[in-house]
């Protein structure tokens, strides 16, 4: 779809990308690795030397992803990204228990890839517990313990929320499930590459394009003996977990992005830099007229700042910022005159108006303080314009 404006205003200034939770630009090192891999075109399953060359690229990437996620290379299953990963875990679990049925536990703030897969398996006859969250968007570990019952086949809870950045207490949540003998799935799509992500057992899904890799490729990490029915049939690629010729170019890009992320995570100032960038953005937005920050202050991806402006609509702000060269995202969208609020913000107990007013600003490792200053200036001007033109004229 064509962007809201034809770039008229952007022509006078530079474009500012603050929608990194949606996707991130490729790093130069990732582009270089993919460009080099384009010369290699053998099928990794082929026995000849062309195939061996491609298989070596895939193996190298698998080792990189394993190093980033602290697992063994053979526990990494490449796929098309986070949505496929979630479906393969949730639907794959249900299909393995189709005849005896069962119960799945998830939370109210999961990504639609998880929630819709859970709804699908409910249609297959499985019971579903959707756990509530507190005002910061976090699941109480005690609620996981209470939800478990004989026949619980899976607990699926995300690490970092894509809309607010809120981090779940992953270690506590996974321990409760694993100690009860229930497989735990962590949707780590939004945290991988930013936060250290470690899961001693269970399932973890990531997507390359959220940390400067290419779109359309990701991975599922399978640790321990987790019964999953494969969803794609054919060959024995990916240790028999996912058939189909590998997306070699994408996998190479994912591997390069994982290498780069691991380097960043090892930098001594990684955490302080993230907090400085996120704090700058958060404080600037919070100081604006009518602003209410929805992202929690602690235990949150600092790169993500979700903010509502009292009595203003988030989708309007997004469209106006886009026309002014700033790319951000709204949790809600005006579909056929019915604005749809974010299920995450509503689950946190926010009012409908506040949820409809939400705008998400998300940074990456490439974001600079200068860009944040520019974004804050354009946002303040836009918010002021909207308040000045409103029939209510009051914040």
């Amino acid at each position: 779809m064509t962007p809201p404006s034809s770039g008229r205003e952007r022509a006078s200034g530079r474009a500012l990308y603050f929608d990194n939770n949606a996707t991130t630009p490729l790093l130069p090192s990732v582009k270089a690795a993919m460009r080099e891999a384009m010369a290699t075109y053998g099928n990794p399953s082929s026995a000849h030397f062309y195939g061996e060359a491609s298989a070596a690229l895939v193996a190298r990437a698998r080792a990189s992803v394993a190093a980033l996620l602290g697992c063994e290379p053979e526990q990494v299953v490449f796929n098309s990204g986070g949505s496929e990963g979630a479906s393969s875990v949730i639907v794959g679990t249900a299909l393995r228990h189709l005849w005896e049925g069962g119960h799945i536990v998830t939370s109210a703030v999961e990504h639609p890839a998880v929630l819709r897969a859970c709804e699908f398996v409910r249609g297959l006859g499985f019971e579903l517990s959707v756990l509530p969250v507190d005002g910061a968007g976090r699941v109480d570990p005690a609620s996981v313990r209470s939800a478990l019952r004989p026949g619980t086949r899976l607990v699926s809870i995300m690490h970092a929320n894509n809309e607010t950045g809120a981090l779940q207490p992953l270690e506590d949540l996974s321990s409760i499930a694993l100690e009860a003998g229930v497989p735990f799935h962590c949707d780590a799509v939004q945290s991988a590459g930013k936060e250290p992500v470690r899961l001693r057992e269970g399932l973890l899904t990531i997507s390359a394009h959220k940390f400067h890799g290419p779109q359309g490729v990701g991975a599922l990490v399978l640790r321990g003996d987790v019964p999953l029915q494969r969803l794609v049939f054919g060959g024995e690629q990916e240790h028999g977990h996912r058939a189909g010729t590998e997306n070699v170019l994408g996998i190479v890009g994912l591997g390069a992005a994982a290498d780069s992320a691991q380097d960043r995570l090892a930098e001594p100032d990684h955490e302080s830099r993230r907090r400085a960038i996120g704090g700058h953005l958060r404080e600037g937005l919070a100081s604006m007229d009518g602003a209410m920050v929805n992202s929690p202050l602690g235990d949150c991806l600092p790169e993500t700042v979700n903010v509502s402006f009292r009595k203003l609509r988030g989708d309007t702000i997004v469209d106006m910022l886009s026309a002014r060269g700033v790319a951000v995202s709204s949790g809600s969208a005006c579909h056929s005159t019915h604005p749809e609020p974010s299920h995450v913000l509503l689950a946190m107990g926010l009012s409908l108006d506040r949820a409809l007013g939400a705008v998400r600003f998300s940074c990456s490792c490439l974001t600079t303080h200068g860009e944040i200053d520019e974004v804050l200036a354009v946002t303040e001007q836009t918010v002021h314009q909207l308040y000045s033109a409103s029939p209510s004229r009051s914040r």
């Binding site: 779809m1 609509r313 106006m320 579909h335 005159t337 604005p339 314009q385 409103s390 029939p391 004229r393």
Partner: protein, 128 residues
């Protein structure tokens, strides 16, 4: 198709005639209870025609752009001209509306017809 016409982008980024006409000869307010969009339109009448129009609007970007375009469009129109405007005319004037934005044309027509009624009431009040 693009989500917004060039005219709508120009008007929501640089809105024209924002505010209220002091002591207006006609004033109208409409709101869509479903999507929450609101428009308050006020006008001064000069020699039987709209001499000036100002608007305050809340809603989606397409609504804000449409409301701004309307304030320039109706200058010079007679009361009967306002009554004759329909959604198709508004849609053409704003350069087209994407699917899901048709409520902007409907709300614009509603506020323009309400303005015409207000104008008539003012005229009747002045003649008695």
């Amino acid at each position: 198709m693009a989500r917004f016409s060039d005219a709508i982008v120009e008007h929501f980024t640089h809105p024209k005639n924002v505010g209220e006409v002091p002591d207006p000869d006609a004033a109208a307010f409409v709101a869509d209870p479903v999507c929450g969009d609101q428009v308050r339109l006020t006008a001064r009448v000069v020699d039987g025609r709209v001499g000036e129009a100002r608007v305050l609007a809340h809603g989606c970007a397409a609504m804000l752009g449409t409301a701004s375009i309307v304030t320039e469009w109706i200058v010079g129109m007679r009361r009967g001209d306002l009554r004759g405007l329909d959604e198709a005319a508004v849609t053409r004037r704003v350069g087209g509306l994407a699917p899901g934005q048709s409520h902007c044309a409907r709300l614009a027509v509603d506020v323009l017809h309400a303005l015409a009624e207000s104008w008539q009431r003012t005229s009747q009040g002045n003649s008695t």
